[in-house]
C-alpha cells in the first residue's frame, strides 16, 4: 500500500467516523404537528374563556395532548422502521420525550393543583429542549429560538392566564412552526 492509497483509506475512515457521529435524519414533521396543535388549542382556549362557554378546559387539553402523543408515537415508530437512526438522532428523541413528560406533568399538575397559569412552565421547558437540540445539531440559530422561548416565559410570568394563551399561540407559531417548516424544507438535513 503506497502513501497515496493510505491517505485515501484514512480519508474514507475519517468520513465514515464523521458521518456515523454527526448525521441525523432530522424530520421536522412532529414539530410542525405539535406546534399547530398547541397553537390552535391555545386559540380555542382563549375563545372559550372570552365567550364564557361552559366547557371543562381540562378535558379539552387532555384530548389535545393525547392526539399529540399518539401521533408522535406513530411517527417515531415509522421513522425507526424507515431509517437507521444514528446515535445523535436517538439522543434527540430522548431529549424531546423527556421534555414532553416534563411539560405534561407541569402543565396538568400545575394547573390542576393550583389553578394557576401553567404556560410559562411549558415554555421554560421548551427553551431547554431547543437549547439542547441546538447544541447537538449545531444549528446555531436554534439557540436563539431557545432564548426566544425564555423571553416569552418572562412575558407570560407577568400576565394572567387569559392573555397569555394568545402569547403562547403566537410563540408556538413563531418559535416552533416556522423553524420546523424551515427544517422540513431542507428535507434530510445533515447536521
Amino acid at each position: 500500500m503506497n502513501e497515496s492509497e493510505i491517505a485515501t483509506e484514512l480519508s474514507f475512515i475519517k468520513k465514515v467516523m464523521e458521518d456515523s457521529r454527526r448525521i441525523v435524519i432530522f424530520d421536522a414533521k412532529p414539530f410542525i404537528l405539535w406546534g399547530l396543535l398547541v397553537a390552535l388549542g391555545q386559540l380555542v382556549n382563549y375563545l372559550i374563556i372570552k365567550s364564557n362557554i361552559d366547557i371543562n378546559l381540562l378535558y379539552f387539553w387532555i384530548v389535545v395532548i393525547v392526539i399529540g402523543w399518539l401521533s408522535s408515537y406513530l411517527f417515531f415508530t415509522k421513522q425507526e422502521e424507515k431509517y437507521n437512526v444514528t446515535f445523535a438522532g436517538k439522543i434527540l428523541q430522548i431529549v424531546w420525550i423527556s421534555c414532553g413528560i416534563g411539560m405534561t406533568i407541569a402543565g396538568f399538575a400545575g394547573s390542576l393543583a393550583w389553578g394557576i397559569n401553567p404556560t410559562p412552565f411549558i415554555t421554560i421547558i421548551l427553551g431547554i429542549a431547543y437549547l439542547i437540540t441546538g447544541f447537538i445539531t449545531e444549528f446555531r440559530w436554534m439557540k436563539y429560538v431557545s432564548a426566544g422561548w425564555w423571553i416569552s416565559t418572562l412575558i407570560m410570568f407577568l400576565l394572567p392566564v387569559y392573555p397569555s394563551t394568545l402569547i403562547m399561540a403566537v410563540s408556538m407559531f413563531l418559535l416552533q412552526v416556522l423553524p420546523a417548516t424551515y427544517i422540513y424544507k431542507m428535507k434530510q438535513v445533515k447536521v
Binding site: 500500500m1 475512515i13 467516523m17 456515523s20 457521529r21 454527526r22 446515535f87 445523535a88 439522543i91 430522548i94 431529549v95 420525550i97 423527556s98 421534555c99 413528560i101 416534563g102 406533568i105 407541569a106 399538575a109 400545575g110 390542576l112 393543583a113 393550583w114 394557576i116 410559562p120 412552565f121 421554560i124 421547558i125 427553551g127 431547554i128 437549547l131 439542547i132 447544541f135 447537538i136 431557545s146 425564555w150 416565559t153 418572562l154 410570568f157 407577568l158
Partner: protein, 197 residues
Amino acid sequence: MDQLNIQEDLAFIKKVINDTRQSFIHDGKPFIIWGIIAIIGQLATYAFILTKTTEYDWYMWGLLAFIGWFLSFWGYRKKKKNIRAATITEKAINAVWVSCGIAMMILIFIAPALGIYHEFYIDPIVCAILGIAYFTTGSITYKWMIYDAFGWWLGALIMFIWPGLYVLLFLPALLLVLQVIPGFIIYLQWKKVSGTN
C-alpha cells in the same frame, strides 16, 4: 495489506468508534456539589421562614448559586485541560445540564423576584426539570438514572398536588437520595476506573 487484514482493521476501528461514542465516565462531583448546595439553601430558607428573617433569603441563594457555578466552571476548565476532544455523548450531557441549569436559575431567581410564584411552587417545577436532566443523562449513559428521573417526577407530582411549607424539607430529602448519594456512587466508580486516590 490483504483483504483479511483490512477487514480486521476496520472491525477494530468500528469497535473504537463505538467505545468512544457510548462510553462516558463521569466523576460525579457536580452532582455532589450542586446537591449539597441546594440542600443547604432549602434548609436555610426553611429556617428563615420559621425565624421570620426571609429578607436574607435571596442574598443567600445568590451566594450559593455563585459558588455552584464557580465550582462547576472551575472543574470544567480543569477537566478540559486533561482530556481529548469531547465526544458526542459528553457534548450532549453538557448541553442537557447547562440548559436545565439556566432554566432553573430563571425559575429560582426571576419568577419569585417578580412576585409571581411563591417558593413552594418553585420546588415542584425544579423537580420536573431535574427529571428531564436525569432521564436524558440516564438514557445516554447510566441506565439506573432513568429510575432516578421517575423519582424526581413523582416528587414533582406530590409537591404540585400538595404545596406547602413541608416542600422545603421534602426537596432536601429528594436531593440527598436522588442526587448526592448517586453522585457519590458515580464518584467511587470513577475513582475505581481511573485509579485516582
